[in-house]
Symmetry: C2
Subunit: 563 residues, 2 copies
């Protein structure tokens, strides 16, 4: 059976531990919620010794189930002050599971100023000095570290995490070794940095065991067929997440110039169609898999005129937050901004939102790509402006005296204006995760997104669905395919572990995860007043629609009864 | 009878209003608590249109009662997110009361970018354009404005308030016309700045009426004798607040180098005795009254070698926060820092604490006075560093990744380390005002300050006493004299207004004020978890004493039952 790997940074010791019964049937986000609730005092300083950074695999990690290798990184968030889990693709989760590690629990703070790398291989786990790598961007770091640990899976932080930026994420490499799979949100990179861990390196390879391998293979065959043949899969493969650019612009909710408009006059320049045209013409890839065996392959490889990779992938949230929200419509600039964020170790959502707030205050003009690139470089250097932006959107607003700050619980909104997509606004308002679209993504629902009616119900329905995926390690882009076949997920789990679950368990576990997370935040001091959008969205009209976020507080408070 | 003066910045209109019954028997802080609770939505954006700035006189303002002319400035605080009242001496409150104004209630936000001055004279009140004065330091501004409005009382903001800094205070001039009487705490200057009010100018002079002037004169005679002859008055007159330097250092709680120590090796250089020696030798004043008729005259006038005034007054909190807490022991530097803060419109406590946090992060070395002066000048200029410091200590800590940040509810602690003075720590933790020493100043109590036993009771006792003074407009330095003679205060009130109060009313009103304030914060989202000190004080030992702040949470929660 998989084990917990405890990394005690107070004593610089590592130890393996049997997984207690109560944690066996949960993985990823759901495991993180339980561990944090049980082991971390919710009021603690997120960058202090009492917080724990948990790197967890999903229940189906390490198998050959397509799209099941998401890695979950969680801790109390220095950005929101509440619980946080942020998951990403890449190759680390599968490798961890194959090495028998269900989750790393990184505890305490080292006494000195030295940095460490956690290396996991056939001999076990050890802490290795990392001084040689401090300050290094993630691309150079991952290249160098894989010279010493060939073919290793790597999950790491960049200079942003080392500097304890709230906007710092945790990067995981894809099959090419690119550190571009981001557990970006909530400042997990800062928590990792506070513990002086530059990287987690999984050197060894193993194989997971199965309670009933034949049954697993049968279920896998069924699963693969369903996911592979689904129309949603084809759409993701063809256009990936950038397909949302036109959809959200048409709904009037694409963030433009710090959420001052929801419709972008240059939307054609940043659409998925244009993106594919550019990529195809230059010889990049319009479809790409971030983890082995993924049949969706929603990713892309954006290249320059010479065919050299600028960044992979270039996704919707980045196009929204670092494109239209900065008034920038040049894919080359957006791709460079994305590359820089990946290299420095930054969440593109938080960074884009923060730069837009700085632009609104006059630090630079909207549309000035060079200025945006320079600001991101300043984040690497740690200039005062760079540090302000690194502290996140809310702090940037306070420093520059800007009132239009798109945050909930201290975290920046994703690329859906809540005045146009009311359901998403409810997700922002109520999720324990802050303004996080992945917690309850309503964007594709067939509803009148501009109406407050039913917005809370829609958000809640989706919020209850998502933990199924975040717990099993499945990419949420399988919702459109496997979502209608929950028994297949259950068959995979039962045959992998010898369990006897039925489909109801999925919903029960999901609800339990939401309750655990909500409880953590309650103990951290959150109240129903934490579930509100700022006046900049409830009172300032979105000019293109003439609407504000007007879902009644009562609807929001009513839905929080799931806690 | 006195009236409310409503200043509607939405419509740029002013109006006088009869004072409703429920507000008649409260003034200053107590009036502010009631008005904010009744008229301001506690969850509103503190710098938005729904907040109100209230400038209130105490009940005894405008009379010749010594030390009764404190001016209270209040609003929802952009720094703490809760209720705030900050009072100061100077000449405005008496003049407002004499002009028949009990309080100004400044509402809304102007639509344009123009700035205004509120002018009150015999003809009433008007809003006057202030464009000519924008960006001006408070000293130059007050000099200029008194050329146009001769002998006027002035309450104003400096560039800090114009820039919406959380550390911005509101300055009121003293008898010399110096804008050095600060309603410094909680960012009231930013609220005034958000409403585009550069200043309140009281041009006219009047006289308050008395229900029974003979009785008032009798009570006044008794009051004056008591205050004048008290030992506490003599102590304040001789040494003023700087006498606390040695006292608090001896208790081991003087903040040194960002609260990293509580005992200053150069305490002799910054003691009250040294201060008086320097002032006397150079021809300054060791005693000075900030308002007409004050028999305490605790203030001083600090001059340079040529006898030219650098700043008046130089007080304990500034010596602690901008002296020892920055590792600076040169009175000339501390006085210059104080002058600059006054001129820019900054709270010296919040500013000193923020600079110390920046110094801990390595922005400058502790003890580097030139660097500190330059940082304050950057606040005037609005450089990015200046803006960070202006956003306050908590934001500065976030930007620079410093964990040792001396704040409660987002506001910097005054110059008493709570690990050495446990009662003061309870005041910091529990006051609705954030870490504000004036809300329950335990420093002079005859107790073992380092013991957690009884600390909560001591703080509560003092917290209940203080509103008596903040409501009547009396300086709290009369506690040591008139505190033992509450009937005299009642006699003054009854004869002034024709009331029939008894001494119990003082305690009832005080408790009601605390409850009003606590209720406002509760509605703003505060919970009992808001009443905690940071880990930097509950877990990090004060090296000189080897103690942490260890008053049990239960003691703190128990005392909050007054709400």
């Amino acid at each position: 059976m998989e084990k917990f790997l405890r990394v005690d940074m107070n004593e610089l010791q590592v130890s393996y531990e049997e997984v207690p019964e109560k944690y066996q049937k949960v993985g990823g986000r759901s495991l993180i919620a339980k561990l944090l609730l049980d082991e971390v005092v919710p009021t603690c300083d997120a960058l202090g010794p009492h917080n724990k950074l948990i790197v967890a695999t999903g229940l189906l990690a390490g198998t050959s189930v397509s799209s099941a290798g998401r890695i979950s990184v969680g801790a109390k968030s220095p950005l929101t002050g509440g619980i946080k889990e942020s998951n990403a693709g890449g190759i680390t989760a599968n490798r961890l599971a194959q090495m028998g590690v269900k989750a790393l629990v990184i505890e305490g703070l080292p006494k000195g100023d030295d940095w460490y790398i956690v290396v996991i291989n056939d001999q076990g786990c050890k802490l290795v000095p990392a001084e040689a790598y401090v300050g290094m961007g993630t691309y150079e770091f991952c290249t160098k570290i894989r010279e010493d640990y060939s073919d290793a899976a790597v999950t790491c932080i960049g200079p942003a995490g080392e500097k304890l930026y709230n906007a710092a994420g945790v990067a995981t490499i894809d099959r090419e070794g690119w550190p571009s799979r981001y557990s970006g949100r909530g400042g997990m990179g800062a928590v990792m940095g506070s513990k002086k861990i530059k990287a987690i390196v999984v050197e060894g390879k193993g194989r997971v065991s199965f309670a009933n391998e034949e049954k697993f293979k049968d279920a896998l065959k069924e699963y693969t067929a369903i996911v592979k043949d689904a129309p949603s899969t084809a759409a993701y493969k063809d256009y990936g997440t950038p397909s949302m650019v036109r959809i959200v612009d048409a709904l009037g909710g694409l963030p433009v110039n710090n959420f001052s408009n929801g419709s972008f006059d240059r939307v054609d320049d940043i659409s998925a169609e244009t993106l594919n045209d550019v990529i195809t013409r230059r010889g990049g890839k319009t479809s790409h898999a971030c983890m082995a065996g993924c049949v969706i392959a929603c990713s892309n490889v954006y290249v320059d005129e010479e065919g050299e990779t600028i960044v992979s992938p270039l996704e919707y949230e980045t196009i929204g937050l670092m494109g239209s929200n900065l008034g920038i419509s040049d894919f080359d600039v957006i791709a460079k901004l994305n590359y820089l964020c990946n290299d420095i170790g930054l969440d593109t959502i938080e960074t884009g939102a923060a730069i837009a707030v700085a632009m609104e205050s006059g630090v630079a003009a909207f549309g000035d790509g060079e200025a945006a690139l320079k600001m991101v470089e300043e984040m690497r250097q740690g200039t005062v402006l760079g540090r302000v932006l690194g502290a996140g959107t809310a702090v940037t607003g306070k420093v520059f005296g800007v009132r239009n700050v798109p945050v909930v619980k201290g975290q920046a909104m994703a690329a859906y204006d809540p005045r146009a997509l009311k359901g998403m606004g409810v997700t922002y308002a109520t999720s324990a995760m802050g303004a996080d679209h992945t917690a309850g993504p309503t964007g594709k629902a067939k509803v009148d997104h501009s109406s407050p009616d039913g917005a809370a119900d829609l958000s809640l329905t989706l919020q209850k669905k998502i933990p199924v995926y975040d717990c099993t390690g499945l990419c949420m882009f399988t919702i459109g395919s496997i979502g209608a076949h929950p028994q297949v997920i259950i068959d995979l789990l039962n045959s992998r572990f010898g369990w006897d679950l039925n489909v109801d368990w999925l919903n029960e576990m999901s609800l339990e995860t939401l309750k655990d997370e909500y409880r953590f935040n309650e103990l951290a001091g959150f109240t129903k007043l934490s579930h509100r959008l700022p006046e900049a969205f409830t009172e300032r009209e979105l000019p293109n629609l003439g609407t504000v976020f007007d879902v009644p507080d009562e609807d929001i408070d009513q839905m929080m009864k799931y806690s």
